[in-house]
């Protein structure tokens, strides 16, 4: 989906977002409040430059717009694969962005992520997945790796993975699987009033990380929560 079409549906009261080389930054109006917007368009890969620019926007929001909400729009094929990004330390840049988003949360900035296209590994970890709540459009394609590549790396036949992915949300891409595993708060349809959905998301209080609880409630990730609880109650 084109980001402008999405923005029109998501921000009916207006937006002022600039696109620079698939890097989205700006502001929008949700209800009657201004929110900061960062994001990626056109399935762009995320490298050091985008991470730094997004982190800078978040730090500006913390400094000059106390409490202002933050929207993170995700349509990315993952981390930028290049020698330059490795040399400069892409993991540091991604962690910097993740830490800035967490700092914003602790200072009362509600953050809402929305996957409206692709969301792959590194392009998702330090963005939508660091939000308080992350939503996804029905058609969104969230994954770690496509099944053929996964088959190659793990040396497991692709047919086996395809078969397993029919019954097990762990293997198959898609927003509904991530919903079942607790990482997506709710799946939104294009028939929904997205402006209203987003407004309601911003009305919810900032929460603790409850993804492993949702994972067990929804039956998609059954061990994460009990293992954490067992560690917490271990008496040794």
């Amino acid at each position: 989906m084109n980001w402008k079409d999405l923005a029109t549906l998501l921000f009916p009261n207006g937006y002022r977002i600039q696109e620079d080389n698939s890097n989205l930054m700006g502001e929008a109006t949700v209800g009657n409040k201004t929110v900061t917007v960062i994001g990626v368009a056109n399935q762009a890969q995320v490298g050091v430059d985008i991470c730094l620019q997004h982190a800078t926007v978040i730090l500006n929001t913390i400094q000059y717009h106390p409490g202002q909400g933050i929207v993170i729009l995700v349509d990315s094929l993952g981390q930028f694969l290049s020698h330059r990004d490795e040399l400069l330390g892409l993991n540091r840049y991604m962690a910097h962005l993740a830490k800035c988003l967490h700092l914003a949360r602790t200072k009362g900035h509600k953050t809402v992520g929305l996957v409206y296209g692709e969301a792959v590994s590194g392009g998702f970890l330090a963005s939508g997945m660091m939000a308080d709540e992350c939503y996804a459009l029905e058609a969104a394609n969230i994954r770690v790796m496509a099944l053929p590549a996964m088959a190659r790396v793990t040396k497991i036949p692709q047919e086996t993975l395809v078969e397993l992915s029919k019954s097990n949300p762990v293997f198959a891409p898609g927003s509904s699987n991530y919903y079942k595993m607790g990482a997506i708060e709710e799946v939104w349809s294009l028939q929904d009033d997205l402006g209203l959905k987003l407004k309601k998301a911003f009305e919810r209080p900032i929460q603790q990380d409850k993804r492993n609880m949702l994972g067990i409630e929804r039956g998609g990730r059954k061990l994460a929560y009990p293992v954490v609880e067992r560690v917490l109650t271990e008496n040794t």
Partner: protein, 295 residues
């Protein structure tokens, strides 16, 4: 001396902590292993590739986790990640002096793709929350698989990293980049290139790790002890400072084609000799030329 590189995850813990002080949470006897591997015909590990627990470091109470690189490359699966999250949450209750994470991992365990990705995200969140609770998180890197992908991000969410020359950390492994972009972009067989791009010396010079150490667990033990009092929380001031460091890095080195160019820009004479130097000799030169010192 004991090589950190050659030791396995559990041996590292035994040598790092005070003798006999390690008490494991969810030890292998409890057989808590991955629910996803059996259907793929892969033998599970009874600790899912990570040992967690508490112990003493020169008498100070610490929490520790140590990843086993030999088990699926240290990849983070659902249970592996939940053990790390549980450890970090328990630390927030018991208030140890610090949490030490001995990371050796390629990132998300592909065999548990989606569950692994979410587990990494939950670990990142637990690390920053532990810091916010005032408990320092210290990362040690020196295993042969390095610390990459999501685990590379986890490492940089911590307060600081202690790393050996043999340790490597960044985001994508060279094979992945070569497969996607071709050998001209990154030749994964050129070991000297791989090392100077993501190895300990490069990370030290760019200030991505606090210290570079010889490949000796005793040195890691001493450095980890010295680091126990490091400052904890993530603050606006700290993030503004890091933002400037990272912006300066792109401005100064963003066009460099090779680490050697960066080292020359840092004012190091004969940068091509750096890879050959022992740590003590390297530090004599390097400590005056780190990126943060470049005004």
């Amino acid at each position: 001396m004991t090589s950190y590189l050659e030791a396995n995850g559990r041996e590292r813990l035994q040598k790092l902590l005070d003798v006999g002080s390690f008490e494991e949470f969810l030890p292998p006897q409890e057989k808590i292993s991955s629910p996803h591997l059996e259907q793929l015909g892969i033998p599970a590990a009874f600790d899912d590739g990570v040992a967690i627990g508490r112990g003493r470091l020169k008498g100070e109470k610490v929490f520790v986790a140590s990843e086993e690189g030999a088990f699926l490359g240290g990849g983070v699966g659902e249970v592996h990640g939940a053990k790390l999250v549980g450890l970090l949450k328990k630390a927030q209750k018991e208030n140890p002096k610090a949490v030490l994470l001995l990371l050796e991992s390629g990132g998300v365990r592909l065999h548990e793709a989606n569950a692994g990705l979410i587990a990494v995200s939950e670990t990142m969140r637990a690390v920053v929350e532990t810091r916010m609770a005032g408990i320092p998180v210290i990362v040690l890197i020196g295993g042969s698989n390095g610390c990459f992908g999501g685990t590379g991000i986890v490492a940089q969410c911590a307060n600081l990293i202690l790393m050996s020359e043999e340790g490597r950390t960044s985001m994508s492994g060279p094979e992945v980049i070569e497969t996607a972009r071709g050998v001209e972009e990154f030749d994964s067989q050129d070991h000297a290139l791989v090392w100077r791009t993501t190895g300990g010396k490069q990370r030290y010079l760019l200030e991505d790790c606090l210290q570079i150490l010889p490949d000796n667990i005793d040195d890691f033990r001493e450095a980890a002890f010295q680091a126990l009092n490091c400052y904890g929380p993530i603050t606006l001031e700290g993030m503004l400072e890091e933002n400037k460091l990272l912006a300066d890095r792109i401005a100064k080195f963003g066009k460099a084609k090779d680490a050697l160019e960066i080292w020359a820009k840092l004012g190091i004479q004969n940068p091509e000799q750096l890879p050959m130097l022992e740590i003590a000799e390297f530090l004599e030169i390097a400590k005056h030329h780190r990126a943060g010192d470049l005004k």
